[in-house]
Symmetry: C2
């Protein structure tokens, strides 16, 4: 028998690490401990199941069941909680949440993939307040699903990705939606003009928006905002954000970074020997700003999990960092970003300029053509492309991926304007949105 590998957490990073380590080294003894009832599931898919379970069946959100892991010789235990880690002895304390039984397991190598937890603001709750839900686990999802017939008026607290995606979901279910966001505008990581487009789009779909105000109290049949205003509600979705789940790591002496998440090197090693970390509980290196950021996203966790799995099995893989790329859908709009926005670029020491254009997603005479808004940021000193934000009904994902590849190659705005991209009327205008934006930006960087 090879080394004993214990993995705490079996969602994105944990399950990917387990599968990767197994593939690389068939001799490893791999134990995955998951406090919830499911492993290897797509948290990002939950809003789509909730809005359209006929086409998005629950089982499809699960990439691999514990039985499937077992067939690969990976021991996955659901409903098992790790209570503590002793890095010197090389043991973890485990509670079986079903039986209550507690015991200790030893490890040669440990991966902390504990993810992130929803922030639950401490606000007063009246006895007859509407039910409050979050959306992080399958348990949360199933609870919202079970209540489907019992509510009509929803208040969403928080205007981040999850809040906005769920506005779309509740709308698809025919619910009446109010959304309260503490910040004076939606999407603080996006430029104000992007947030404004999203705001109009939400209002156009009948979402009752309350910006610059949080929820002060859950009252009888509703919520009271900080502003004093009361909104009636049958259900409250808390989506005010996440925080990295680092309790076990801290208790084991694992160092956190300035972002509050676990620091690792590119190989996913923490400062404690034999302990790795990956996924939403860790911070990552930003390729453009050269600074650590906390970016709790499923695809990042997945790539980190692969690196951790390789290295646990004796490899020498490295995680190259992120561009801060993200995308989400809200009603008909895709909202996407990669790289730095202008203020982030300034903080990172660049001399940035931004261009904003409205262009077309395909040849203007094709019925599938839609407007696409692009904000592209570059550095005046070097001409280097630094980032881009895109919002529109069509083509935002394509533009952002193309630009992300450009950022990875450290291309300039000049380069970006000249790339030979794929043109045919059903797919792109003769000058693609990316080229049009880069053409405007290159001039701006020289002026």
């Amino acid at each position: 028998m090879g080394d004993r590998v214990v993995i705490i957490g079996g969602t994105a990073a944990g399950s990917k690490a387990a599968a990767t380590a197994r593939r690389r080294n068939p001799d490893l003894d791999i134990l995955v401990l998951q406090s919830g009832a499911e492993v290897s599931y797509s948290a990002c898919g939950m809003p789509y199941y909730l809005s359209d379970e006929e086409h998005v069946p629950r089982k499809l959100l699960v990439a691999r069941t514990p039985d499937q892991f077992a067939r690969d010789g990976i021991d996955v235990r659901i409903r098992h909680k790790v209570e503590g880690v002793d890095p010197k002895k090389g043991t973890v304390e485990i509670t079986n949440l079903e039986s209550g039984k507690t015991w200790s397991e030893s490890f040669d190598q440990l991966l902390i993939a504990t993810g992130a937890d929803p922030i639950e603001p401490p606000i007063p709750v009246a006895d007859d307040a509407p039910p409050v839900v979050t959306l992080r686990s399958f348990k949360d999802m199933d609870r919202i699903r079970q209540m489907a017939g019992e509510y009509q008026r929803v208040v969403i607290v928080g205007g981040g990705y999850i809040g906005l995606e769920m506005a779309d979901t509740f709308h698809a279910l025919g619910k009446q939606i109010a959304l309260a966001e503490l910040a004076p505008r939606l999407l603080p990581n996006f430029e104000p003009s992007v947030a404004e487009i999203v705001k109009s789009h939400l209002e156009g779909h009948g979402v009752d928006l309350h910006l610059g105000t949080g929820v002060a109290e859950l009252i009888s049949n509703g919520v009271r905002l900080n502003s004093g205003e009361e909104i009636q509600a049958d259900l409250v979705l808390m989506a005010v954000g996440l925080r990295p789940s680092t309790g076990l790591a801290q208790q084991a002496g694992v160092k956190l970074g300035a972002t509050g998440a676990i620091t690792t090197d590119a190989g996913m090693h923490t400062n404690v020997e034999r302990i790795y970390a990956a996924g939403d509980c860790t911070e990552v290196h930003h390729f453009v700003s050269d600074q650590p950021i906390w970016l709790p996203l499923g695809d990042v966790a997945n790539r980190q999990g692969r690196v951790a799995g390789e290295n646990i099995a004796g490899g020498k893989a490295a995680f190259s960092g992120v561009l801060g790329t993200a995308i989400f859908k809200v009603f008909d709009l895709a909202v996407a970003t990669t790289g730095l926005n202008e203020s982030q670029a300034r903080e990172a020491g660049f001399d940035p300029a931004t261009c904003q254009i409205t262009t077309m997603s395909r040849a203007r005479y094709m019925p599938t053509c839609r407007n696409l808004e692009l904000l592209m940021v570059g550095d005046k000193k070097s001409g280097r492309l630094l980032g881009c934000q895109a919002v529109g009904e069509d083509g935002a994902d394509k533009a952002i991926d193309t630009i992300a590849a450009g950022l990875w190659g450290e291309l300039t705005a000049d380069d970006m304007a000249e790339i030979d991209l794929a043109y045919a009327p059903p797919y792109s205008p003769v000058m693609s949105p990316v080229q049009v934006a880069a053409e405007v930006l290159r001039k701006k960087l020289r002026s």
Copy 2:
């Protein structure tokens, strides 16, 4: 008055050059001579007008009319043919095709943007043969449009982009289609497995395919193939390919390259002083192979036209070359390529390997998810990415643009597997098609 600029050809390169030169230098005296009846039109849009003129009106295919050019102080003359160029005297001989009048105009700078002509194979034509059409000009398009009610059975000769796009168009119009291609398979610039997918897709839409045989003769009410087989037809579309239109250039002493098209430097200067060339009549530098190729595509012509226009107006712009990127639609499929395929890579001196994968365009549980086939080529020596082909109903254009940006940055397969791309279930699987392919390729390059 500034320099006298004469531009021969007013489609993509010529009209873009005129507009760019005007913007940069308001004093130039610009004359554009176009033998056809329209300038600045989208040749690539013609199949979409023919299949759906309700949604794709004719006028939308024209980017700018002669009147619009006139308002910018650009003198555009349609139905004016240039008969000869005297580079020493700096004059062109012009015939007005309407009046028959002939005269000479002088130039300080000349741009040759004469485009490409359809190849018309010299085959015997019976007196009562069906009408034969090509599709290059608006005149061709209008002729096909006018005959819409008069034919039911079409034979398409040639299985390139235009032949396949028009198969889609004729199918949309409810016509019965046979297609003959001289080569033993479709799409010789694509890998055989891509051609095979396209072949099945065509057959699935009822196209009667005849590969490995050209048309020997146009007979009464049909065609006779080289194989001897006869096919009944009411209309024959000749789409066997294009050749660069270089007659005027050769007569003026302008040098052609090995591809048969005009050679220019990166600034679009020919070997003859004061004479520039741009668009489908020129060859271009391939960024990956470092060799000249002939790539008659609208977006390439457009970018070359911009460079020529800048330089004619005193600028110092350079055309950086192409990746050989191309895409076309045939029924539900997008078929796309960028960079080199394996045999082109070997010819260019690389030590290539190719991976082929079938992956998903979006999260597998989204109803919009489709299979996407990718063939990715890399260099074993350097690990560098060399090219990719994609075919599928969804996501091929996005994958190819992302990879094109990677090729422009000379990224390796390792880089490509690690780029931080935009993930959300409606837009991408957690590992995007590009990452999945690069992950398989990186392993193959090391083995």
